[in-house]
Amino acid sequence: MTHAAARPVAAPAQAALRLRGVSKKVGGRWLLRDVDLALDRGETVALVGENGAGKSTLVRIVAGIEALDAGAVELHGRVGYCPQEPGLLDLLTADEHLVFFGRGLGLERGAARARGQELLDALGFPRRMRGTVARHLSGGSKQKLNLALALLGDPDVLLLDEPYTGFDAGTYLCFWEHVERWKREGRACLVVTHFLGERERVDRVHELRPALEDAA
């Protein structure tokens, strides 16, 4: 993997994300109850917790694609969201995904493609696969495209839900080098993870515990 061009480093300790009392019911039961969490710019936080603790749901709430039942989410800056399952259209190529997402972000077709290719190169996405439809990409390549789409809008807050699924060992290590770089660039990163080894790579660990109390 190579590194993409660096952007100006933000001033430290600026709030990027604040969650206050975030609660969410699923199927009549509280999945999340009174979750408080804060991230500053240039900070990386690992979100951990057992299966079913609501990590992915919390990230979707922060991304704004799932509603909350109580509490507040305060975001400063643009969000980039990389879901656990690559949300791709099976019959579109990598280039077409870049144009599709780039247009939404207000980029011209050429600019979206150029910026996206720079990101894909940095993530080690094979150039020869750019014209291949997503259905025929390997799991790791899909995930690299997924990650590139999250970064396309030059986000201030990165929400990464187990973003290395399908990566080989080398790509996995390079991913964490990228996280280091994003941190230096002043981006706030919230990374959902299960791996204990990753706790050394982040500034803080936030553990989500299952909400035990049933809804009234």
Binding site: R60, I61, A63, G64, I65, E66, A67, L68, V73, V79, Y81, P83, E85, G87, L88, L89, D90, L91, L92, E96, V99, F100, F101, R103, G104, L105, G106, V133, L149, L152, G153
Partner: protein, 224 residues
């Protein structure tokens, strides 16, 4: 300025949806063949063959609309996060499907014109085009309200199937979405009667289904 940007985004959505659909060659072939197959199944039975062809068109186009929505449901929240408005996603898809539908209408009605030589060929085109106008938002509305493949397909089959089985002069027929188009198609043999009711009914039903799709879609993609 903003209108231009919105238009470019709508075209991008329609383009990407079109690229996706064009790569589904089998589905595309069935999409075009279904109304023709329905028509030929009753060939020799006069106007009935033409109205049945219209129902085949409704099955085909509403199914395409339904699956285009359901295939993209995982990616659409991310597209909204990327900056698209939910309404743009729906309108872009509507733009593509109506355009594609009109192309199929041209082929189907041309074929019917050549084979059946109906006294009112203009009404063949108008009736089948009106079918597309209603069937596309019907598929979109079902997909936005139900949002599950099996249930959605069964709902589409139920609505179009009940319409097919009901005589056009039955009490319940005017309440179903394809009544207007079928009424127009029933006049292609030159039978007497006004057309305004059928045309207006079809246009209104299509518009109402568009509104249902938009409202349901906005509720589905509503977050905080």
């Amino acid at each position: 300025m903003r209108t231009g940007a919105t238009a470019r985004r709508l075209v991008t959505i329609a383009e990407m949806q079109g690229r996706d659909l064009l790569r589904r060659r089998g589905a595309l072939a069935m999409l075009a063949a279904m109304p023709i197959a329905f028509y030929f199944a009753l060939l020799g039975k006069g106007v009935a063959a033409i109205t049945t062809g219209g129902v085949g068109m409704a099955f085909s186009v509403s199914g395409a609309a339904l699956f285009s929505m359901l295939a993209a449901r995982r990616i659409e929240p991310r597209l909204v996060l990327a900056g698209y408005r939910p309404l743009e996603l729906l309108l872009g898809r509507l733009l593509l499907l109506e355009t594609l539908g009109i192309a199929i209408v041209a082929v189907t009605s041309g074929l019917i014109w050549l084979v059946s030589e109906p006294p009112r060929p203009d009404l063949v085109f108008a009736g089948i085009a009106l079918t597309v106008w209603v069937a596309v938002p019907l598929g979109l509305a079902i997909a936005t309200v139900i949002a599950r493949e099996l249930e959605g397909v069964l709902a589409a089959i139920a609505v179009v199937g009940v319409q097919l089985s009901l005589p056009i002069d039955s009490t319940a027929a005017p309440f179903l979405p394809l009544y207007g188009p079928l009424r127009v198609l029933s006049r292609v043999g030159g039978a007497p009667g006004g057309l305004a009711g059928g045309l207006a009914g079809g246009l209104a039903y299509g518009f109402v289904l568009c509104v249902v799709s938009v409202v349901s879609w906005r509720l589905r993609l509503r977050t905080r």
